[in-house]
Amino acid sequence: MRLTKAEVLAIEAAAKAVLPRGARVLLFGSRTDDARRGGDIDLLVEPPTPVDALLAADLSTRLAARLYRLIGERRIDIVVAAASEGEDRLIVREARRHAIELART
């Protein structure tokens, strides 16, 4: 996994500050691969219950803004999908295959 200790701690702190209790944050995408370089920080957020697209956008924005505050503005891509959801989005199915858990709230 290619995140610094400070980045992991920031993600944990940001998740606890803005996400509902019982949520999980997982890393997916190129940052899970030690052999690659650079790339966005791709995060899969799993709220405890399904949320609609409007609430998902709100959670993403609040999490990203908190991370910008803690580690500076980065290319952070956040996908929101509750673990219990039957997911038809390819991005979510791909994210779940290789995701690494970073935080629980």
Binding site: A57, S60, T61, R62, A65, R66, Y68, R69
Partner: protein, 155 residues
């Protein structure tokens, strides 16, 4: 920098922001007169698309004008040695002095970054991104009005 130059820079920055604020106010009034459009309406109604494009364009321009012009001009006018500060330090200082809210600013940055995504096939996500940008545009107008009133209090 002389006082006259500082005043002129602040006046120019406020003027530029105000132009975008006025256009945004107009477009937002038009939007608020409507029922919140469905995702289908936003996809299919060309008049609505033009209106949201106008809001998003001015939202982006106002954020640029505030970040690139007003923030440095306000700090200069306040006598803060901001020239070599990174953006975050500039925003933090203005927040400390009560001119803006950094959390809100960073949320607007994210809303804007999200607009850059096209979300192919994801109608709900596109709809959510547009509604979030309209809400953010309204909040940014209010923030600018607050900042301007604090910089230039009425006599």
């Amino acid at each position: 920098m002389t006082e006259a130059v500082r005043d002129a820079r602040l006046a120019a920055a406020l003027w530029e922001c105000d132009r975008h604020r006025a256009a945004l106010d107009e477009a937002l009034s038009e939007w608020r007169a409507l029922d919140t459009p469905s995702s289908q309406a936003l996809e299919q109604n060309s008049g609505l698309r033009r209106l949201t494009d106008q809001i998003i364009y001015r939202f982006t321009k106002l954020q640029d004008a505030m970040g690139e012009r007003l923030v440095p001009a306000a700090l200069g006018w306040l006598g803060e040695p901001h020239e070599v500060w990174p953006m975050r330090d500039r925003l933090d200082r203005l927040e400390k002095l009560g001119y803006l809210d950094v959390d809100a600013w960073l949320q607007w940055r994210d809303v804007r970054n999200r607009l850059a995504h096209e979300y192919p096939g994801a109608v709900d996500q596109r709809h959510a991104a547009v509604l979030a940008s309209v809400a953010a545009a309204g909040a940014m107008v209010a923030a600018f009005v607050h900042c301007k009133a604090k910089l230039l209090p009425s006599p």
